[in-house]
Point group: C2
Chain length 710, copies 2
């Protein structure tokens, strides 16, 4: 008779010493028990009599299960017998289980039979698990148990550590939460007990990094309490690689030199138009960069009127950034030279590294960079822009319109679209950065810098994968500015065949989703959203509360705007009676007060003016959505001017609220939208979804950042 009582460390070490990476149910439960997790009482019996003795000790009814490290799927082996309520039945079950186990696997190492108390009836089945993600490390999972978790995949993940508050959030997040909350007169399940289990699982897998996957399934939850009826864990065969990291201070000081350099060297500068080394020098000059520019070339004398130096070591100045335009194979040696010259960052434009399979060359570059503390951007990139310094270190065309959003992209194509879209929409930017192969400088480095950069108010990133998800989360959590991420490869399949349910459900994207949620990242689903929200978030002031009001001249727009609000999680204010009365005074009797407020199509600009002013000045209203309809009595520009006027007037009174406009009508609404945007008011022709989605993105951040008064 083996009673539980081993420490978690003992259980894990003993399995590893035996070369086993799958823990038995008994072992996993010991792990759990040592962490104070509630497991069904039970012991391993070595004989029939032993089994009867245990059954009498823990009390009938009992369950018997084969205990063998070689039999993972106990039911398949006929190794589980439920609901035994007498000594005879237990004896008989013991014999049968041992018998079947030998037949199932003749060489199985059979420890005996686990005798367990039957879980009380009437509990709800849930599952709690943990998995190990390449990017983010350990994550915990919660879902409804039984076949529902598999059929409906209705689960929630969080990266560890996950405290009780987060655990409660997870439980409430699943679609089937009502089942636990109790509906149709059923009693509520003990949410607190589940949250405690999730929290302890988070602690367990954090404290024991060897645990790769853990499934507590099923857990029975009752009105009071919860109990783990079955459990399984796998251990990792290898230790995860230690990640190289610069300290936060180091990153900020390095990145500050990279983005605000006093001197830039262009290594591989060329006097020949058409060459990348020529384009970079030309763009630096054309962009209006005010620092020193040092072209480096072994033979040339002059590039675009600038004196050329044969090597970086001969430059008579402290260079901060080296823009590298030489073939890939020369890069490792160059990094060493740059390091000796105390250059802070190397911008690696050339391709020919990991992206074509040349991993070894890239490894050499990374090694050189780390050794000499030279930060590496790229390789395989178009370069980067930082408008406050008029810095266009790129072979693309210059872009210098100042704005408050810093954008980055992992892909060159997406990066060029950022430039094209910004130019086309007249969107100001603080920075556009190409990350390419991302051999060193990563999203978290950029976030560290932009978080403290007074020129940046919004961060927007196209991400294909995060090299170090934990570092990303740390940086994002510290950052008090909105971060929008377009994570490409959303729909890729999970990266490995998983041994556990938790693992099988942990598609990479579910983990990214959880991580972004935990660090307040606003997730864009399409490039359009990334770009449009970049524009919108820097234009929109932060809302102070959830009360959104729609004012529209077109009933048809009102309905679609309300649809969009529901789609994007915005809350239409229930208009208080006095405010309703005040609105009614401005609109025709057949107009509709309520929300949307339909001022009807026949109204002059004054009606827009009066109703918008009322919405802006009433302190209970927190954001306005305006639906304009092109009419003869209020032409598009008249509407635009009225909106600009009322916004300006109220601003002078110190009132600043987010406003988005949707304009329907003939092509003149495009001009009116442009006019509004020039005045700093977000406006869209022919769409109700885009303005609402943009406002909702701002709300998402405001909620996370605690800006919303409840």
């Amino acid at each position: 008779m083996t009673f539980m009582g081993s420490s978690a460390r003992e259980v894990i070490d003993s399995a590893i010493n035996q070369g086993r990476f799958i823990l038995t149910e008994f072992e996993t439960k010991e792990l759990c028990k040592s962490f104070g997790l509630p497991v069904v009482e039970g012991c391993i019996a070595k004989s029939e009599n032993d089994a009867v003795q245990i059954a009498n000790k823990i009390g009938y009814p009992v369950v018997l299960k084969v205990a063998s490290p070689d039999i993972v799927h106990k039911s398949d082996a006929g190794g589980v017998m439920l609901g035994l309520s007498q000594d005879d039945e237990v004896k008989d079950a013991y014999r049968k289980i041992i018998d079947k186990a030998h037949k199932y696997k003749s060489d199985a190492d059979i420890w005996g039979v686990l005798v367990q108390k039957m879980a009380k009836p009437h509990g709800k089945e849930v599952i709690v698990g943990a998995t190990n993600n390449k990017q983010f490390g350990k994550a915990v999972m919660f879902g409804l148990g039984g076949i529902f978790v598999e059929a409906l995949k209705d689960v929630a993940f969080r990266i560890v550590p996950s405290d009780k508050e987060t655990a409660t959030e997870m439980i409430k997040e699943i679609k089937g939460f009502d089942i636990l909350r109790g509906i149709r007169g059923e009693p509520a399940s003990d949410i607190d007990a589940i949250a405690t289990i999730i929290e302890k699982v988070s602690q367990l897998v954090t404290e024991f990094p060897e645990i790769d996957e853990l499934d507590l399934n099923p857990i029975f939850v009752y009105e009071q309490g919860a109990i783990i009826a079955d459990a399984r864990a796998t251990l990792a065969a290898e230790k995860p690689e230690e990640r190289f990291r610069y300290s936060s201070e180091e990153i900020v000081s390095q990145m500050t030199r990279v983005f605000r350099p006093k001197a830039v060297a262009v290594v591989g500068a060329s006097p020949k138009p058409g060459k990348i080394g020529y384009a970079v020098v030309k763009n630096l000059l054309d962009g209006g960069y005010q620092g020193k520019i040092y072209p480096i070339h072994p033979k040339a004398d002059e590039v675009l009127g600038l004196k050329v130096y044969p090597t970086i070591s001969e430059v008579p100045d402290q260079v901060d950034v080296g823009v590298v335009c030489i073939p890939a194979k020369f890069v490792p040696n160059l990094i060493q030279e740059l390091g000796q010259a105390k250059v802070a960052g190397a911008i690696l434009i050339p391709s020919g590294f990991a992206e074509i399979g040349n991993h070894e060359l890239q490894r050499q570059v990374v090694e050189a960079g780390r050794k000499h503390r030279v930060r590496l951007m790229g390789p395989n990139i178009y370069g980067y822009y930082y408008t406050p310094e008029k810095l266009c270190a790129t072979f693309c065309t210059p872009y210098t319109l100042k704005g408050k959003v810093a954008l980055s992209s992992q892909s060159g194509g997406i990066g060029m679209s950022i430039i094209g879209y910004s130019r086309s929409k007249n969107m100001g930017v603080a920075a556009i950065v190409g990350l390419g192969n991302k051999c060193d400088i990563d999203e978290d480095d950029l976030i560290e810098f932009f978080a403290m950069d007074s020129n940046t108010e919004v961060i927007a990133m196209h991400v294909e994968d995060l090299k170090d998800g934990q570092a990303f989360m740390e940086a994002a959590k510290k950052c008090s500015k909105p971060i929008i991420v377009l994570k490409a490869g959303r729909t890729e399949l999970g990266e490995r065949a998983a041994a556990s349910h938790t693992g099988a459900l942990a598609g990479t994207d579910a983990i990214y989703d959880a991580a972004f949620k935990q660090c307040g990242v606003i997730r864009a689903k399409t490039l359009y959203e990334l770009l449009d929200w970049s524009r919108a978030l820097q234009m929109l002031p932060t809302p102070k509360g959830e009360n959104v009001v729609i004012i529209t001249g077109a009933g048809g727009s009102g309905v679609l705007l309300a649809d969009a609000c529901a789609d994007h999680g915005l809350k239409l204010m229930a208009i208080p009676a006095d405010l309703d009365k005040a609105f009614k005074e401005h609109i025709p009797p057949f107009g509709a007060s309520g929300n949307p407020i339909d001022i009807t199509g026949g109204e002059p600009p004054e009606t827009y003016y009066n109703t918008i002013k009322l919405g802006l000045t009433d302190s209970r209203v927190h954001a306005l959505i305006l639906g304009y309809w092109h009419t003869l009595i209020t032409p598009p520009m008249a509407f635009a001017e009225v909106v600009a006027k009322v916004v300006d007037e109220t601003k002078k009174e110190g009132i600043v609220k987010p406003i988005v406009c949707s304009l329907v009508g003939d092509v003149e609404v495009e001009m009116a939208s442009l006019y509004l945007e020039e005045k700093g008011i977000l406006a869209y022709p022919y769409t109700m979804d885009a303005p609402v989605s943009a406002l909702a993105a701002k709300y998402q951040w405001a909620r996370y950042a605690g800006k919303i008064t409840k």
Copy 2:
């Protein structure tokens, strides 16, 4: 002892005669039984002994339930006792139930106690129901039963009649279908038995229009068979209003005169610029309408050089359409005059009807129209356009660019956006129609006409509500052209508090969704989708199979395009080995074959040419998505020209496949996109989602229309 056996008609009539609109469980089961639906065996006992006798007849274990038309919630009244297996228990239960029922409601009419066989264990609970929708009539519902249906709202609807094939489709549509299909070694449930129940419920509610709502909940489904354990029905207090309908032939002949009039009268034509009656005449002239135009005005002599007639009766010609520009109150009399002059359609521009609460005036207009067989468009509209006749019967500006899409809108604002967007995007249209209050001419009238109109290939509609959903479905089912609908008010709450689960789950939108699915309507979620798909569906040829191939110069675009394919339900072809080899011959060794095919960014136009040509000419490939990346070696216009060239060449060989292009890069990609669109190739700058969503819309139609070879 009351045994079942009454006919459905008897059950319903008897309840109605007693003034009852909620049928008891016993009655509902009789209804079901008379239709051959499998219900748990049982009878109403009038005494303790009666109960024992029934129990012995049907066999233990049994359930006892109070039978009273006054006790709807039997459990609340303590009126249900389960799992009784002996005579004594049955007697005791009978007494207790009757006792509690009297206490629960002292004046309740208690018929006795329903004695039923306990359902076999191990079944899965499902629910089948029916509801009655204002627009579409009867609809059937299927979902997983128990608390899951309420917590997860995982249900499927179909408008009746719903045959067995449709029923099977419904069962497979729910997210939890795996639970019925059998997972983790569980046996599959009897899908056929459920489908049969759904089909019979569809027949039952069709044959008995009095049934308003029906809940069969729970139904237990087994490996073999299914049985209805509880049931409830409500009857409608009123008969639904008979809808007025023109015949299909009449509609087509009326609409043909409306859209291709030989003579148009403008009633209320005005010689004064700024008046609507002036604008309409001017637009008819400016648009280039070639038929006769007759301005009608009691006093004026001439409008824009045209002779004016004092009344329609004095026009010396058969007028087909009267465009009405007079105040609302004069409209009823005018319709009579138009009717006497055998005018086919009146275009009612004025407002002042139902939209401002003036329902009586609108009713008079409708009555006059029906009496005189004058079809009415509007009122409260901007008018309509039909480009093949150069007809701009509107007070908005003319729009005459011919195309193959006919668009309609219920809202004037949305209608004007259709005009603005079309003009801005250079989108040709066949028609733009304002439906406004929709007092007569409806979407189904338009579909009847456009379905047979040789100038129309795509139909696109903004809909706020359908007045006659059944007529819409009939017209849409007959129509062999794609129909796109933007249904506004998606997120409104169900219109009434429902007595049944089925009713509570049948939010109006779920019913619309089911109806659209059943008649092959492509549902746009946003105005942008409606407009963009209108453009796309007329440009894209119909795909012949599901094999989609992505060819991209930017890996980053490829990932986002693949994401979009997964989002929108497109299937990336698994490239056969020989085709893979053929692609590989055209791309660099470090490029990625597979799908997406990444030709890499450093390639010249020839590589695009070769790979696109291969994709177009290989008969196993059915559609291409091209992801272009702006590079020096292949600038945007070079790409655009290559695509146009290869499409043109293969077209000459008789190869026509849908192609969509996504262009990333600097602003020049906008010009290249415009060039491609001029060549009839759908192209989008800065987005991967829009081109894929457009292609997916075409696929959605092609699948419904049976154009896809499996």
